[in-house]
Symmetry: D2
Subunit: 131 residues, 4 copies
Amino acid sequence: MTVAYRATVRYLEVDQQGVVFNAWYLAYLDEAMTAYLILRGVPYPALTGSGVDVQLVHTELDWRGAARFGDELAVDVRADALGRTSFRLAFEIRRGDEVIVTARTVYVVVAVDGSGKRELPDFLRAALAES
Amino acid sequence: MTVAYRATVRYLEVDQQGVVFNAWYLAYLDEAMTAYLILRGVPYPALTGSGVDVQLVHTELDWRGAARFGDELAVDVRADALGRTSFRLAFEIRRGDEVIVTARTVYVVVAVDGSGKRELPDFLRAALAES
Amino acid sequence: MTVAYRATVRYLEVDQQGVVFNAWYLAYLDEAMTAYLILRGVPYPALTGSGVDVQLVHTELDWRGAARFGDELAVDVRADALGRTSFRLAFEIRRGDEVIVTARTVYVVVAVDGSGKRELPDFLRAALAES
Amino acid sequence: MTVAYRATVRYLEVDQQGVVFNAWYLAYLDEAMTAYLILRGVPYPALTGSGVDVQLVHTELDWRGAARFGDELAVDVRADALGRTSFRLAFEIRRGDEVIVTARTVYVVVAVDGSGKRELPDFLRAALAES
């Protein structure tokens, strides 16, 4: 896995039980996904410039722990499965060595002109296959 | 399913693609879960007053569409599976008849004193079984 | 003042001190502003359709109390001052009769084509003057 | 002024006009305030350990520009005015040399036991006076 994103938990992300409210983990995943594509050589404009975009269609998260105000989190990412028109990323959100959340997200590749699903372009497939 | 929660999409929930950012759906689910338990006769203080609490351990979401600024959303909920120490809720987030997101969340029942998992109390099991 | 917006405090809006985190009040104000313009007969598309838009340039908030999870809040709005190219709105965020926050925001009217400030169009001035 | 906090704009913070939604600036200020007190030698637990806490009672923001997705922001802070039971902080939120937002916040010092306002403790007054 690749460390794609780091975040320090903000005060507003913590709820009255003193732990990060569940929705914020999706925000961390989103930033990690963008950063991961950049690390793999596919910044978002390169994607859309080639005529395709990606659309989140599925995400699942498993909580093993809880993060607290000021915790420094790291998000590891790897491409988990490459389909014809979709791919899946696997994530681990860690505080040091402790995994707080594992997650998987599935994206489908769509045409930017709104005409529907597209096959993964070769450069994206190659970039994800490396990881 | 029971309509447990209604929300009108706020401007801040919409991203630069003009659709609700994915993390906000978890906020809708959280409110719907609390409201659903109230509708089933188990307000949150009744739960903790009996010595147990619930902890979110898993959630998965599937997107079929996208909500936009000002959309009026309804969240339907039903108990999907009752285990010994955990239960699963199923959700549909709708705009009118159109289902935008389906989701499932798993909660474990834990002791409020921090001593770990507990069996579903009878009143909670009965409340969820009705639905 | 006109009651322009109502919101029930969400769990995620409450911080570890058990009160609504300050930033969420700006979200309530934003929804109240849009709703207020609709109540005054100026839905946002009518504004932009006439060639102008509004831009938030100043906001100030005074806290007199704190809202908590589940509180039902109402936001009252009135036009406070009408300038040549700007206007100010005054807000009260209440829980029942108790005012939690008072706020004032200043908007400038700008051309949608990016060419800068514009005078308040007559229909907007008339709509705000009524209140 | 002291650079107290840095943040990279997240995708979710950007609204459908492509700019950071106003409420998120309050989140930046809040993190900057905490970080500033640490830099001045007053971590939050030192404050509450001495029997007092701080309460936000007023904030005002002036927008001079707009931040966008991925922008790297810095928040400068200085103590602006020291009263008997309150103090004011001044903030500049910058992207490089460009100031996007200026802000001022007023905090009152209160007893942690809920008994009301307190004078600024000497160590806090000294810490803020240095800046």
